[in-house]
Symmetry: C3
Subunit: 258 residues, 3 copies
């Protein structure tokens, strides 16, 4: 058994040929879709999607990520090892936050020869990343298909400010409920503000609580989401629609502290 | 082999961490998505989604359902056994119609200790229901993780009226074709009206037939859907859009009988 | 191990009962979703979806296709064998282009008796195609459930014109990026026009290139897509929205040649 996950912005259809390639090389692979509805070409949102789930996967899991606006250009294809897990995808930062979350990372540049009969210039998910992951899952040594490198594109979710009167952050993901997930780790917030504190965004007030159901239906609430980041939600509604905030937007949160 | 199904209102992303948890505990589980696009917090629609498919699953299947607006409150987490299948989810009625469909039911309250390293207040699907289902699928005795109870929240799809001149019912699910599924079991309709009868909704007429293709393209038709319930559809179109009816709406159907 | 794929216009929910039926008959089947969001009743789009992926699947794969507006009428249910793969679905042309792509085809008419306890008139995906595919995957001889026929509905993606000054084609699929996929095979285009040629659609110009990233963000580009067909795209945007073109539309492409 080995688990191979897929995180892409492909929507339907294209992931299936990746699965065909994987099962042709390793018929026993267990394939898990993480998301195929990452907003198109939004590398940061894709990085967050993967980041939010990797620690729940078993040792040996191989994660393929394909948010790849540079496909066909000269960006590298990489494999990253961290903890007991592997990551395969383009060298554009997508895989790095997830890998770092699991520990020290090793980065390898994929040597494309021999992975596919023919490598298209438009679909490396199918022609490079899927076969590379499938060969790894079959037990092939990483050095047979890639060489170690120290030269890769990084990414982190930093870039927020917590001041006395306000917080400035970035919206890193809007989930399918419309919950607004920021780039502030939960523990950083908990160092600074207490449960029960009243916050405000765009003139609207909301309490900082532990659960969605701590406010009435359709009321705003701020909390640490299950992904571990600071989040603004509407109980049984969409905070994204209410506050007009989307992936990549800046958000300024006011607070009154004693 | 054991099959574990998932029915949620999570959209993309969150189901993946449930799958990671399941595969970490039982690497041989076969995971099947029933739906992750149940309308958010619509417990009745989720109950119907599960209800429409359970009888097609093999003995031993474990169904996880997470439409859970009360997560983090004091609602219980339960396991239900019925026929040869299991159901795991919140105690809000979601699991009950499906279980009852399979026969007499036994309900157990999950003891949360020991299921996860840390139980969040926002994502019991990942921290309680997924591990509970995975341990059951590994052969753990239900009494090791839960205790029997008679105290649980029920649900049924009743509440319709069939009179001489009209039917009153509730829309229990609008599927992705826009077909309007009511809460009236097919056999109850067949006791009362014959195939060929002319019905009307909101002043629009439609025949009660056996198949969608019995009317022309874009025409209304009433039938017993493949789920076994009375349904109103538009051949190759959306009845929900045409009639402005959505989940939870009341529907009044006129009929002329001899 | 045997792989069974599903291509439907069902959206969520209904595919799950097909999976339950398959796993009840063959617990070891590996089920792969190709797409469940084929535009409703669009047989040509479904045929293309399947066509674009079949050659990446391993020998022995069984593909179930259900775009089936004629369900419940007297259209036949068929099994098609081609290369080392199998196709199961309605006799409406859906399966034929994919099968032909793999080589010579053999067509069998399914004998419906004995496949299910009860065959509904609305859901042959669950009651006929899923069990037929599962029995095949279990090693049952095709002649136990079907008989050979030469009478079936065909389909091809032909019907385009390449002239000196213009190309006329049909939009066969709009993918989830909004890329407009035409019915012209890549090799036919490459016989006629060179990479770098300037093309025009509806008064808008675009170069014919190898990759999306060969033009700036939000610029139009024409290329051979990873599916092997001539395609018009917007780098990091939606060509379908920009050009107002959808499945089934005609498209006229101007070109200036030396």
């Amino acid at each position: 058994m080995s688990v191979i996950t897929l995180t892409t912005d492909f929507g339907s259809l294209y992931p299936a040929s990746m699965k065909g390639v994987i099962l042709s090389i390793n018929p026993d692979a267990t394939i898990v879709d993480i998301s195929h509805s990452v907003p198109p070409t939004d590398i940061r949102a894709g990085a967050f999607a993967l980041y939010s789930v990797v620690k729940y996967f078993p040792p040996g899991t191989i994660h393929i990520g394909v948010i790849d606006p540079g496909v066909g250009s000269d960006r590298k294809a990489i494999i990253v090892k961290a903890g007991d897990q592997w990551f395969v995808g383009p060298d554009n930062g997508l895989l790095i936050p997830s890998a770092r979350l699991l520990g020290a990372i090793e980065v390898y540049e994929i040597m494309e020869d021999g992975l596919s009969e023919r490598i298209s210039s438009t679909f490396h998910g199918r022609d490079i990343f899927a076969p590379a992951a499938a060969y790894l899952s079959n037990g092939k040594d990483v050095l047979e298909i890639a060489r170690k490198t120290d030269d890769y594109v990084g990414m982190d979710f930093s870039g927020y400010t917590i001041e006395k009167q306000f917080i400035e952050a970035t919206v890193v993901y809007v989930d399918d409920f419309g919950n607004i997930i920021t780039n502030i780790p939960g523990e950083k917030i908990l160092d600074e503000i207490e449960v029960g504190t009243l916050l405000s965004v765009s003139g609207r007030q909301m309490p900082f609580l532990n659960t969605y159901s701590g406010v009435s239906k359709w009321e705003l609430v701020a909390l640490i989401g299950s992904h571990g980041f600071f989040e603004i939600a509407v109980n049984q509604g969409s905070a994204s629609r209410l506050l007009h905030l989307a992936n990549g937007n800046s958000i300024r949160i006011g607070m009154s502290r004693s």
